[in-house]
Each structure stands twice: as C-alpha cells, then as structure tokens.
Symmetry: C2
Subunit: 239 residues, 2 copies
Amino acid sequence: MEKTHIVKSYDEELTHLDSLIAEMGGRAETQLADAIDALMRSDIAAAERIREDDKRIDRMEEEIDAFTLRLLALRQPMAADLRAIVAALKASSDLERIGDFSKNSAKRVEALSKYPPLGGSLSSIARMSAVVQEMINNVLDAYVDRDADKADDVRARDEDVDTMYTSLFRELLTYMMENPANITPCTHLLFIAKNIERIGDHTTNVAEQVHFIVHGKRPAEKRAKGDRSASTVVGVGEA
Amino acid sequence: MEKTHIVKSYDEELTHLDSLIAEMGGRAETQLADAIDALMRSDIAAAERIREDDKRIDRMEEEIDAFTLRLLALRQPMAADLRAIVAALKASSDLERIGDFSKNSAKRVEALSKYPPLGGSLSSIARMSAVVQEMINNVLDAYVDRDADKADDVRARDEDVDTMYTSLFRELLTYMMENPANITPCTHLLFIAKNIERIGDHTTNVAEQVHFIVHGKRPAEKRAKGDRSASTVVGVGEA
C-alpha cells in the first residue's frame, strides 16, 4: 500500500492507473469472497477483519481519484487516454460500493451466528457469490486488456445473478412463513443476497466503462433484467 | 430535455454543468418523492410512470459525462474548475443510483397493493423519505452555491436517517413475527426503507464532493453511523 511509485513517463502513469484499478478491484473481490467465507463458517473474528479492511478500499478510491486529478492537470490527456481516466474515476466509485456491500454482508455474520445455520440457502448464496466473484475477476482482466468483448460477456452474465437472487428471495420468504424463528436470520440472508445482486450491478457498470474506453460510447442495447423479486408475492401456505 | 444549448464561453459551460447536475438531482429527488407518494396511495399506474422516467435520469448521466469529457478535452481546466468537473462525474453516478433506488421502490408498489396497508410503517417510511428528500434538496443548493458548510450539515444528518432505518427494521420484523401474512409486504417495505437509507448514503457522497470542490480534499473525520440494523436480532415473542 505505502510503496513509493517512481513514475517516469506519461505511458507509465497510465499503466499505473490501470494497476491501481486492478489492485482495488482485486481487494473488493477478496472482500466479497472473505465475507461469504466468514458467513459459511460463522466466523465473527474474520467478519470483523473485513470491516477493518474496507477502510483500505476507501483509501484506494481516494488515491485513484487524486492520481487521475493529477494526470488531468499535468498531462492534458486526449481521446482514448482521456476516456480511460474518466472511466477510472467512475470505476473507483463502483469498486468502493462493492467493498461497502461486502462489508455490510460481513456485519450480518454475528447476528446470524445466533441461529442454527440454514444450510440450503447458505449454499445458494455461496453459489451466487461465486458467479459474481468470477464476473469481478473477468471484468478487471477486461479492463486491463481493453477487451470490450470480454466486458460485454460479463455484463450479459448479470442476468443469471438476478435470476438466482429472485429464486433465493422466494426460498427465504418461504422459510420465514414456515417458522417465525427463521424471520430474523432469513432477513439478514435476504439482505446479503441483495448485496451480492447489487455487487453484480456495479460490476456491470465497470464492464460498461470498459466498453466506453474501447468504443468511445456506452453499450447501446439495454441489459435484460432477470430480477423479478420486486414484484414477487409469496403466499402463506405455499411452502 | 432536447433543448439546444448555445454555449458561448468557458464560464458559461461550467455554469451549464452545474445546472445539469441540479436538474438531474432535482429529477432524482422527484422520483423518490413520487415513489413514496405512489406507495402511500397504492397507485400502480403512478409507480409504472416512475419506472419509465428513470430512463431520463440514466440519459442525463450520459449527457453529463459526455459534457465533462468535452470540457476536459477542449478547455484543459485547472484547480477548482478541474475539481468541479471531476466532482460532476462522481456526482452523476450517485444521482443515477438515487434514481435507481427510487425506481426499485416504485416497482414494489404493485406487490404491496395486494395486501392491507400497514399504516404505521408507511408513515414512518414517508417521514424517513421526507428527511432524505430535504437532504437531496439542500445538497443540490450547496453544490450550486459551493457552500461546503451546508454540505457538511447534510452529511451530518445522514445519521438520523440511519437511526430511523434501524427503528423501522425492528418494527417490520416484529410485524412479520406477529402474523406470517405480513411477511411478504413487510419484506418489500423493508427493502424500500433500505433503499431510502442507501439514497441517504449517496446524498452524503454528493455532499463530500461539494466539500472537495471547495476545500480541495474530502472531509477528514469519519461520519458517525446510526445504522445498527445489520447486528440487530429480533426475537420471536418480543412484540
């Protein structure tokens, strides 16, 4: 974190900006993976560390924003370089939110540790998170490689995440109806699932920034939405 | 929306950028107000219009981002002007999310219309939303006036929103435990309350951007957090 970067040329500065985004994104992905791991193992101490580590992600956003400001002031970038710098400013906000949603998920581990584990739902959450972690991983590769096709592919996969979330929404509401003792833990799991779904949205935003750097405009077609949970009604006795 | 802007000078362009942010923010605030109004009146047609109007907010983000890119390329801004342009890029993302959270709340009106209204909780949600709407309104004034004190005041008020949210969280979980028929509607209300709490966070981000434009750095002290819901456990029979 506290390395001194001896930067020599404009090209090196632009490469450094990419590496900052890749590092920040890598940390955000790790935060999500660690939060879900702490949830699966009901590890309160690990969850507490994730909350602490979120501050480092916040500081990285500030570092990236300060670095872009310096590049804009001193280098007066044009065309694709300018787009990369603007994209970095937008992407750093999205990655900060990914860290924040991971932290919020970690915060719920302690409340959940007071209840018997809901094994099936935990597995579904872990599967959903694995898909999103892979999306984050791929979008960061696409970012560094300026690979718009790979970014578009990440964007398309967000629909699967939405579908998984809608399915979890129904499942968790059904458990709540079966037994009032499930209401508190299922509510926390519902928010964790929603956090992962939102992380998918922010990953999609980063994918759109990659498309923008490469093509000079955002993707044209509207992304299909697989999240039907907002209109979902689960009746008592449906279980 | 489709007005032709005849822009003559650099100063006019910077003023135009502020007016775009103020307009986009005003629309986002209206979307939130309309979503809560549709919820209170169980007005499905109004909720549907809010979903449509969200596309205009998305287009405004693209317009602002394209305009800032043009300013950066052609005007090579420095110092406070450069900070204002970077802040506009960040703020447009936050305002887009405010529109998105409002749309997500509106989407839930139809599912909620199938249940008897939970009057007390609806009133609490409306009160919480009124506080956040006032925060959005004030932060836009602070933005246009470059009033960092006013922005810092908005930031401080987000703690009240978090406290209101935690209280609603307990209340809605208690209703769910009293009667399983309340589980679906209370879950949707819980997500609406959470959306408003998140809108408060994004409004706080905009407030921090105002502080940054004026002072050249982000606010130093960490904001106090009043949201204790993530660690909240509501026991059966507590009601």
